[in-house]
Amino acid sequence: MSNHDVALVAAGQSKFGKRTEAGLRNLVFEATKELFLKAENISKDDIDATVIGVAGDEFNGQGAPAAVSIDEIGLVGKPTIRVESACATGTAAIKTAYGLVKSGLHDTVLVIGVEKMTAVTTGKATELMARAGDIRWEYPFGCTFPGFYALLATAHMEKYGTTREMLSSVAVKNHYYGARNPKAHLQKEVTLEQAMNSHPIAHPLNLYDCSLISDGAAAVVVTRADLAKKYTDTPVYIKGIGSGSDTMQIAQRETLTSLKGAKTAAQTAYKMAGIGPNAVDLAEVHDCFTIAEIIAYEDLGFAEPGQGGQLALDKQTYIGGKVAVNVDGGLKSKGHPLGATGVSQGAEIFRQLRGEVEKERQVPGAEIGLSHNVGQSGQFVNVIIYGR
């Protein structure tokens, strides 16, 4: 089989945000309903199995979230599996579906990523995410999730001279595009001044350096390439997948200015796809914090090590620049419902490569899209390359 024998043929996404009126199951419903409404020639009957990505049960209290999800959308009786890789859960779910399809075990798999996070207070959510650090040697010191990335930011600023303004430039861009995405959590632009002067969360990161705590779901259908044209005239193929990992304790990393797992994932995915970073038209990168997007530019080869901040400052990651990055608002403005994020990246690339997104944020003629999804502070990384 060639490398390009698995395809996406449909995608859907719920509105991201603080969805007080919607539970986990309702978010699943919303994304799935949109998927089938927008799909050209595929129905529920074509689905052989589901893969459900949910990062944490504690946020909404529902155990066995895959079971409640397939019950909600009427796919009971067909095989299902729940996947978890912290914030990289969504791409782990797509990767699992890829394996199921490529192995021949199933022909057509519905992948849903979902997280219902706002049922708990922000303090409680911060607490739960802090427990994704080592509970024996990191959690006892009260290191928050922003804290882990702040440790990377301090090191990056020290080594490369990355500035406050460079960090905030990422926030300004992502809010600019998020303001143009009707599915985004926070649809408003921010000025560089506002972004630079917001209140501190974990020095050197402030409020506008941090992604949002959101509710949301996203869904895609993954199938065999030789069946894809039956379902749509314009499938989007999975051309490459790479993954990597890193030490549990952040202190024990070889470097704090790069994510080793992301570099490995990118190299593997590029090699499988037979392309390099210059071929990427748009990238969905894991900007859980502004520093994470800057490091992503470097790990993915869009910029040399240490030059990621300058790339942001020079507006080279807007549409029309070197590579369009997070033109749906990214985790920063679109929102970051953990399990949904990686699937939403895939859904966004699916729509971008088919020329279907809002006109003012459509990347003209995009043929190659890259999804970069990071779990915790680099313990899990998946990179998926999609092409028409």
Partner: protein, 135 residues
Amino acid sequence: MTKFGYVSVEDYVPLVGEFAESLVKGKIFATKCKACGKEYFPPREECICLNDEMEKIDLDTSAKLVSYTIIHVPPESHSTMAPYIIAIGEFPNGLKTMAHLVGVTSMDDLKIGRPMKLVPQTLENERIVYKFVPA
């Protein structure tokens, strides 16, 4: 029995118990694999070479600052403590760990590479922790 950390969620395991009792006596130990010689700090009961015969060794507690953050918005469990500095320090043997850095008074004291020392600190409620202090 004295517990380790400002807070903890894990069931209390023997190694961490011994480590906390040792801190009470002012001693900070690392562990070393008897098979491959790999050293660990914080200490581990098992080595990545899959051997579980470890010996305790003294840690040279002098360290240099590798990176830091100041937590302004803490998790629920640390809600009364913020702001606090979390630092990563590197010891002479190359091992690194995370701990609070206490006793600095200005940002000028937070230069990367600055010398520090890891010391035990007794807390309320029969808890103990290690922290970095300026050296």
